[in-house]
């Protein structure tokens, strides 16, 4: 199964210059290689700061585009890694090895299998 590991962190901590944060940043650069070697890696990207982003909506055929997402919390969406894992527990274990997990939060979400029925709410 495929899972998205969605990475959140507080930029003031990650880029705050502490030795721990600098260690995380150094490891981030090569972590894709670690996941490729173990066979878990499918895709992954880091994202720039939200002040470089736009938010887009289409309503009644009209597009609106505004500056960046408005952050309600200190933690921002900072990147994602798609992994292949046997099950949710293996995915959680892989996510725990992502360097940003040590100072931020990783959300592990199974990727939708469109052959399955839609969720009933």
């Amino acid at each position: 199964m495929r899972y998205a590991c969605i990475i959140y962190y507080d930029p003031s901590v990650l880029f705050g210059g502490s030795p721990e944060a600098n260690g995380v940043l150094a490891q981030c650069e090569t972590h894709d290689e670690v996941l490729k070697a173990s066979g878990h890696f499918v895709a992954g990207e880091a994202l720039t700061m939200p002040d470089e982003a736009m938010t887009v909506r289409m309503r009644d055929g009209k597009m609106s585009a505004v500056d960046g997402p408005f952050m309600e919390t200190k933690e921002m969406l900072g990147g994602f890694i798609i992994i292949e894992a046997r099950d949710l527990n293996e995915a959680v274990q892989v996510a725990a090895g992502i360097p940003q997990a040590r100072i931020g939060t990783i959300e592990v979400r199974p990727i939708v299998d469109f052959s399955q029925p839609r969720p009933e709410l």
Binding site: M1, S38, G39, H40, L88, N89, E90, V92, Q93, P110
Partner: protein
């Protein structure tokens, strides 16, 4: 070998060997997480090398050593980054290859005993055993238990943390602890079977995949343990399995033992179970599982309810009640007595058991009383008892059955 051929054999090897490789890696690497990572790496290495070099003669030994050496490599690299790690000293000493069949079996037993450790919560024992010994995925366990996958994942994560934090040893228990620990392992397997057989909730009355997995685990325990109760448990599960197909009709409704089509019972499973019961009786250490299996075997041999040897069943329940007293076994004994001596004697015995307490919230106690009252023509009392049973029953097929009995009585009782 062709690439497709190697892939097919890799999948086959995964199904047969992955759990045994994991069991050994946990011992060699000292923990679940490291071992699971090593297992993954070993199969990744196999996927790369086997199509080129062919499948090794002993895939188990190849995978164990690939997983182990890749982990040691990784730990060495990490140690260079972070300063020496204490476990490196252990890993530097090459241990002999664990290719002896007895050593592999010991590793599987260690894994079962660890997953069924009494320090873990009962729910966690079940989830951990199904995943680590049974090889089910978290999502499969969640579907079988009608639980959200994160709930099951959390149980497994917590159980592993507990094993690590409390340093629960990865070992076969010593002689003093062994009986208790075997009990706990057998109980986990039986709970898995029961969850599959008599689903407490949800639309389907049997969930065959859990039953099949429990039978597989039961066979493993019979192979690994010299224990009559393991034989008894496997026999008991096989006997239930033998009549699973006749227990529910095409509409999903419950079919009582007396109405089941006995020609459809699985004779091969019944024969296998009877051989296991004989073997367990021969040990002269028969326990609750062996006795329950012996009772189920009497039913399985009988051509009909009327021709069932109820005297023998009542006698077996008497023994069972002495060695494992419980209100539910007392109730079953009372029902058997009612079949042997007639509904009046049965009703007296059932009311005596209910009077002793502990069964008031148990729907089958009220259903059993209702059944005796119905046979005696005590329509009003029977209706009250069926109603009480219906209030307590949760399983839809059981509820439909009880409602059906109430409807029949309403027709019969009408002026």
């Amino acid at each position: 070998m062709s690439q497709a051929g190697a892939r097919v054999s890799l999948e086959a090897v995964y199904r047969t060997e992955a759990r045994r490789v994991l069991a050994t890696l946990i011992r060699l690497l000292g923990g679940f997480d490291a071992a699971e990572e090593a297992l993954h790496e070993a199969f990744a290495a196999a996927a790369e090398q086997w199509p080129r070099e062919g499948v090794p003669t002993n895939p188990y030994a190849w995978l164990v050593s690939a997983g182990r050496f890749r982990t040691i490599d990784r730990w060495r690299r990490q140690a260079r980054l972070a300063g020496a790690l204490p476990q490196l000293a252990v890993l530097a000493e090459p241990a002999p290859e664990p290719a002896m069949p007895e050593a592999v079996q010991d590793d599987e037993l260690r894994l079962i005993f660890t997953c069924c450790h009494p320090a873990l919560a009962p729910d966690a024992r079940i989830a951990l055993t199904l995943r680590e010994v049974g090889g089910l995925t978290t999502e499969e366990i969640a579907r079988a238990y009608l639980a959200p996958a994160p709930t099951i994942a959390q149980r497994i994560v917590r159980a592993k943390a507990k094993i690590r934090d409390e340093a629960i040893p990865y070992e076969i228990p010593g002689r003093a602890d062994l009986p208790d620990r075997i009990d706990s392992a057998l109980r986990v397997v039986y709970l898995i079977f029961n969850e599959g057989y008599a689903a407490t909730q949800g639309p389907s009355l049997t969930r065959g995949d859990l039953c099949a997995e429990a039978v597989r685990l039961g066979r493993l325990l019979v192979d690994l343990l010299d224990e009559p109760e393991a034989l008894g448990l496997l026999a008991l599960m096989l006997l239930h399995e033998a009549r699973r197909a006749t227990r529910v009709d095409a509409a999903g409704d419950l079919v009582l033992l007396e109405n089941q089509d006995r020609s459809l019972w699985d004779r091969a499973r019944i024969a296998e179970a009877r051989a296991l019961i004989e073997q367990s009786m021969g040990s002269r250490r028969i326990g609750p599982y062996g006795l329950q299996a012996a009772i189920a075997a009497v039913h399985a041999q009988a051509p009909s309810t009327d021709e069932t040897d109820w005297a023998q069943i009542t006698g077996l329940y008497d023994v069972l009640l002495r060695i494992a007293p419980s209100p539910v076994i007392g109730l079953n004994r009372a029902v058997a007595l009612g079949m042997r001596d007639g509904p009046q004697a049965g009703l007296v015995a059932i009311e005596a058991v209910i009077g002793e307490g502990g069964l008031d919230g148990y729907h089958l106690a009220h259903a059993a009383r209702a059944d005796m009252q119905r046979r005696l023509g005590l329509t009003k009392a029977a209706q009250a008892s069926y109603r009480r049973a219906l209030d307590l029953a949760r399983q839809p097929a059981e509820r439909r059955f009880l409602q059906g009995r109430l409807d029949d009585l309403a027709v019969r009782g009408a002026p």
